[in-house]
């Protein structure tokens, strides 16, 4: 088994902030917009370094998306920053018409996604955003797993022409992917090799999947672990290659099982290579207040839940 080491817990939103800082130095066309959450999104350094390229919009997310769309018309590459809930559901029509349908080069960067936002509770814990964004024609959807990957993704999407939804989170989590990684949109990453089951995870669940694979290995079960940072376009080839080998799959995500990564994987399998699948995801429910760890445990979004799902799916082969 490959060994992955947590080099020190860090929040993915800081990966975004540091990536944006680097972009500010490297690319003069990059501009940033924020709806009164500059500190939470870790955009302070960009703001300090480039005040003329930073736009404080105030608590007006619809206007922020429209302004971002307009900025692209003058050749700018706008990065909008707010919580995932206010980056998607609140501004769906603005994204749909002014960004996606208009084909504008806007990067919608969303922090505090999912249930690990924690104590603020369900009003802020969006578990539907991946579904909302992946349904928009032409939208690229990325959900990164740790600080290093979020920083790399932030820098990479500036070079990609087209609308992108970049999803990350609030809590400090394991940082285990390489600092010098070459982030390729749409390219799945194989983290472990195995023959009994494929575990496909995204975001905070990737680290949990690695922990689960270790436990399974101790019980004689070997798993392919695939890190899907890009949910759309999905790396069909990597998924099929693995499932053709293992014959079953567990998908894991911090999102509703309706509309998330799991459904996208199910579509790929059902049209190409049907196989048993179990879904680690929230079960069509809202979240609630609590610590991230408590919530991940209560809603079945951790390594032990993945281990149980693997046992179940292998029995269905």
């Amino acid at each position: 088994m490959k060994k992955y080491t947590d080099t020190g817990k860090k929040d993915t939103r800081s990966g975004f902030g540091d990536g944006l800082t680097e972009l500010g130095r490297k690319n003069k066309d990059v501009v940033a917009l924020c709806a009164d959450l500059t500190g939470s999104l870790k955009m302070d350094e960009f703001k300090e370094n480039h005040p003329e390229r930073f736009f404080q919009i105030g608590i007006a997310e619809a206007n922020m998306i429209g302004i971002a769309a307009g900025l692209t018309i003058g050749g700018k590459i706008p990065f909008t920053g707010t919580f995932a809930n206010f980056s998607t559901g609140r501004v769906y029509d603005q994204i749909r018409q002014s960004v996606a349908y208009s084909g504008k080069n806007v990067k919608i960067c969303a922090s505090h996604a999912g249930i690990t936002l924690g104590e603020d509770g369900a009003t802020h814990q969006i578990l539907e955003d991946i579904g909302l964004m992946k349904m928009l024609p032409g939208m690229t959807v990325i959900n990164t797993c740790d600080y290093n990957q979020t920083k790399a993704a932030t820098i990479a999407i500036a070079d990609y022409e087209g609308p992108v939804y970049l999803r990350f989170g609030r809590p400090k989590v394991a940082n285990f992917t390489p600092a010098d990684q070459n982030f390729q949109i749409g390219k799945a990453l194989q983290l472990q090799e195995g023959t009994d089951v494929t575990i496909i995870a995204t975001g905070h669940l990737v680290w949990e999947a690695l922990q689960a694979a270790e436990t399974l290995n101790q019980n004689g079960i070997t798993a392919d672990v695939i890190n899907i940072h890009t949910i759309k376009p999905l790396d069909d080839e990597a998924i099929l290659k693995s499932v053709k080998k293992t014959g079953c799959v567990v998908t894991a995500e911090e999102h509703n099982f309706l509309g998330g990564l799991g459904e996208s994987v199910a579509r790929v399998l059902s049209t190409n290579h049907p196989a048993p699948q179990e879904f680690i995801a929230t079960q069509d429910t809202f979240g609630e207040s609590g610590t991230p760890e408590q919530l991940m445990d209560k809603y079945g979004l951790n390594a032990s839940a993945i281990v149980n799902a693997v046992k179940k799916v292998i029995a269905r082969k």
């Binding site: 619809a62 018309i73 003058g74 029509d93």
Partner: protein, 281 residues
């Protein structure tokens, strides 16, 4: 000095284009289109500084954004007659595989269009973004925007109106088509908006009226004044008092023709009131 005879001829021809487009497909929005015909003709042929060829970034020229996208018939006609695409293409309005979609879009690559519009209330925000980009690019040109009066009922407008004043977006002229009508009736009956002028002023905009919003000279003179007011720290709002359905007697002063096409007989009557000037497409 503007050649008002030429502009007037173009206005009449654009009216014919609008009527014939919506009649052919028995759908579309003639009322608001006719009400803004003089404004569009003046804007594209007298007021805006425009580059010869169309580029999406529009660097080095004035830009126009239509927020109330449903008045696409007038937009398409004026763009075609300004040379952005062949006038014959007006024949394809709202047809399958056309670049002239029911509401304007960049999706089909129609020259002259820089953003999709139709879902209301988004145009001022987009225009602010384009205006900010102009400032970053040290481009002294102006962003023109048109929105409907009923459209101001959408809350996003007021986010944008607050932002533009608070951030001195002074290379922006937003014109409100103040015709007092919307789909379900008069704006006063559907959702009274009170004093629109006072509202814009209270938000910190420079506001002026063009009382004769269907008079070419009044529009050209008024908009030139509006242009003089740009660059002084405030966004500029022009309240354009228009008559919906202007130029066709039975379509005027009513919301009935907001989204309804004329039948054969009505088309004939309407066209007879606007005899050919430059030639039909």
């Amino acid at each position: 000095m503007a050649d008002y005879k030429a502009l007037e001829d173009l206005v009449v021809q654009v009216r014919r284009d609008i009527l014939r487009q919506v009649h052919k497909v028995n759908s579309g929005h003639p009322g608001g289109s006719l009400g803004c015909t003089e404004f569009f003709v003046a804007l594209y042929n007298e007021l805006m500084e425009r580059n010869e060829s169309f580029t999406m970034d529009g660097i080095g020229e004035d830009l126009f954004f239509l927020s109330n996208g449903h008045i696409s018939p007038v937009f398409y006609s004026v763009l075609a007659r300004a040379g952005y695409f062949p006038v014959e293409e007006l024949n394809t309005f709202r047809l399958l595989n056309s670049r002239l979609q029911g509401h304007p879009t960049t999706h089909e690559g129609l020259p002259g269009i820089r953003i999709a519009s139709g879902s209301l209330g988004q145009g001022i925000s987009v225009s602010i973004g384009a205006a900010l980009a102009k400032k970053l690019n040290r481009d002294k040109h102006i962003i023109y925007t048109l929105c409907g009066d009923g459209e101001l009922q959408e809350g996003q407008n007021w986010e944008a109106i607050m932002y533009a004043a608070g951030n001195n977006v002074d290379n922006l002229i937003v014109t409100v088509d103040l015709n007092g009508q919307q789909i379900d009736g008069s704006t006063n009956n559907v959702l009274p908006m009170g004093n629109v002028k006072a509202k814009f002023e209270a938000f910190g905009w420079e506001v002026m009226d063009i009382e004769k919003g269907n008079d070419l000279k009044a529009i050209v003179t008024g908009m030139q004044k509006a242009k003089e007011k740009t660059g002084n720290g405030k966004p500029v709002c022009v309240l354009l008092h228009t008559v919906m359905g202007n130029g066709v007697d039975f379509m005027m002063h009513t919301h009935d023709w907001h989204g309804k096409a004329p039948n054969d007989q009505q088309l004939e009557t309407a066209l007879s009131q606007n005899p050919v000037t430059l030639g039909d497409y």
